[in-house]
């Protein structure tokens, strides 16, 4: 098994599996986010349910490990790929059919990671530390995450950072989705274009879905 996972394809399989797992998580996260549109009570109820659900407390560490594995192995694979060409070309023309995103996955991943640090420090850690306003839902006092999130979405700089980060995420997914499938060997001449199309569609839905909320709340507050 060590020669299997130690081989270049084995390491990429780890990147692919962890990446596809994170891709699925993004859809779940987006669905939860979209309940913001249903109003303060619904969102706080969903957030309260998420915070107290035992399944979530199991998934959270799995997610953290998945993310760390994805980052660690991607960096490791990229590093060995750099070593494979110690002398760069004087002139390299990438015109030959590859996308910018496919050639810059590590850069995109790094930018997404930077946003993730900001995101976790502005929401998750504050909630965990109990530094959140309280709200009354049907007689039960819960953390008013709705107020916290919407307050953030009133800040111009935060909304802009969020939207730009989601654009990078979309680019990362546009390559990552079909790339992961290809690494798992689940593609062929017929399915290849279908996976690319599906991945592109998925990345647009995810990126646009995440962008929608900060833009909506920002405009709602600032349009009078």
């Amino acid at each position: 098994m060590s020669t299997f996972l130690g081989a270049s394809i084995g390491r990429k399989l780890i990147v692919a599996v962890s990446g596809l797992f994170l891709i699925l998580f993004l859809a779940v996260h987006l669905v939860v986010n979209l309940t913001l549109l249903a109003g303060q009570e619904t969102y706080n109820m969903v957030a309260h349910w998420m915070g107290t659900n035992p399944a979530v407390s199991v998934i959270q560490p799995v997610l953290t490990v998945g993310l760390l594995v994805h980052i660690g192995y991607s960096a490791y694979v990229s590093l060995s790929n750099w070593r494979a060409r110690p002398q760069p070309y004087y002139w390299s023309d990438p015109a030959g059919g590859s996308t910018w995103a496919s050639r810059n996955m590590l850069l995109l991943g790094g930018l997404i990671l930077a946003f993730l640090v900001l995101h976790i420090s502005s929401f998750s850690i504050r909630v965990k530390l109990g530094d959140a306003p309280m709200a009354d839902i049907g007689g039960v006092m819960t953390k008013d995450l709705y107020a916290m999130v919407t307050a953030r979405f009133e800040l111009g700089w935060y909304v802009l950072t969020y939207v730009v980060a989601m654009f990078f995420l979309g680019l990362h997914l546009a390559h990552g989705f079909h790339s992961g499938i290809q690494t798992l060997g689940l593609s062929d001449g017929t399915w290849r274009n279908r996976w690319v199309l599906l991945g592109t569609g998925y990345s647009i839905v995810i990126a646009a879905g995440y962008m929608l909320l900060p833009i909506y709340f920002f405009l709602r507050t600032h349009s009078g």
Binding site: K12, S80, A84, Q87, Y90, S179, G185
Partner: protein
């Protein structure tokens, strides 16, 4: 026409190389790219200078010997051609042409534009063969093979082993080459039985020789002179996953 050239010159594997500028007058559009280099070398020899070392053999796109990185692309502009099939009609009077060798740790420069591609042979020796003693050629109809499979295996077998895939790949990965060799054998009954071992051994050798890992960028496929597709890489990945079981 008159063209400017920037050519990588390097005396030996250990010496430090660099791009050297040349101006070449009297280049004809009818020349092939390699004929233009022959012409350059003639003028260099007449001036008492060292000619530029580059590899070539059949000059008709089937041997896989020529290997130049021209204006940022392996085998230059044009789809599915080798350097020897590139014509000077692709260039205009006054153009500057940059010529570099393939760049990869596993393909060290021997001299000027010639690189050592024996790494490909080592990968083949690690598993790119059928070890069963097949005996004499069997009667053609005794092993029926579906036309689609025969065609796909033949498409994979068109790989010249020129190394353009490695040269084009930002990761200097040899996955397209290895996958073509896997496909040409795995799709046919004689080769199918050893597919798992072949995939594992060839990948282990590829890693050991210092090639990078494939990140599904697709530059290899776009630059392959024989149009080998990356769907072969998916087959290689499948064979590798299967080798764990």
């Amino acid at each position: 026409m008159k063209i400017k050239l920037k050519i990588w010159r390097q005396e030996s594997p250990d010496s430090k190389g660099g791009l050297v500028d040349y101006e070449l007058d009297g280049v004809s559009k009818e020349m092939s790219f390699l004929e233009m280099l022959d012409y350059l070398n003639t003028t260099l020899i007449e001036r008492g200078e060292e000619p530029v070392a580059f590899e070539h053999d059949c000059r008709e796109g089937i041997c896989g010997c020529c290997s130049l990185f021209i204006n940022g692309r392996p085998h230059g502009v044009g789809a599915e051609i080798t350097t020897c099939e590139l014509r000077m009609t692709a260039f205009e009077n006054g153009n500057t042409i940059v010529i570099e060798p393939w760049r990869a740790k596993a393909f060290p420069v021997i001299r000027d534009l010639i690189v050592d591609r024996s790494a490909f042979e080592k990968i083949m020796q690690a598993g790119g063969f059928i070890s069963a003693n097949a005996g004499a050629a069997p009667e053609a109809n005794s092993i029926p093979i579906p036309k689609e499979l025969a065609d796909e295996a033949f498409d994979a077998a068109a790989c010249l082993g020129c190394g353009a895939c490695v040269a084009a790949c930002p990761n200097a990965s040899a996955m397209l080459f290895v996958s073509a060799k896997i496909s040409q054998l795995a799709l046919l009954p004689q080769g199918e039985v050893e597919t798992k071992r072949r995939a594992r051994d060839m990948i282990a050798k590829m890693d050991e020789l210092g090639f990078g890992a494939c990140s599904n960028i697709g530059a290899c496929e776009a630059e392959c002179p024989k149009g080998i597709e990356i769907s072969h890489i998916a087959r290689l990945n499948r064979a590798f996953v299967a080798s764990a079981f």
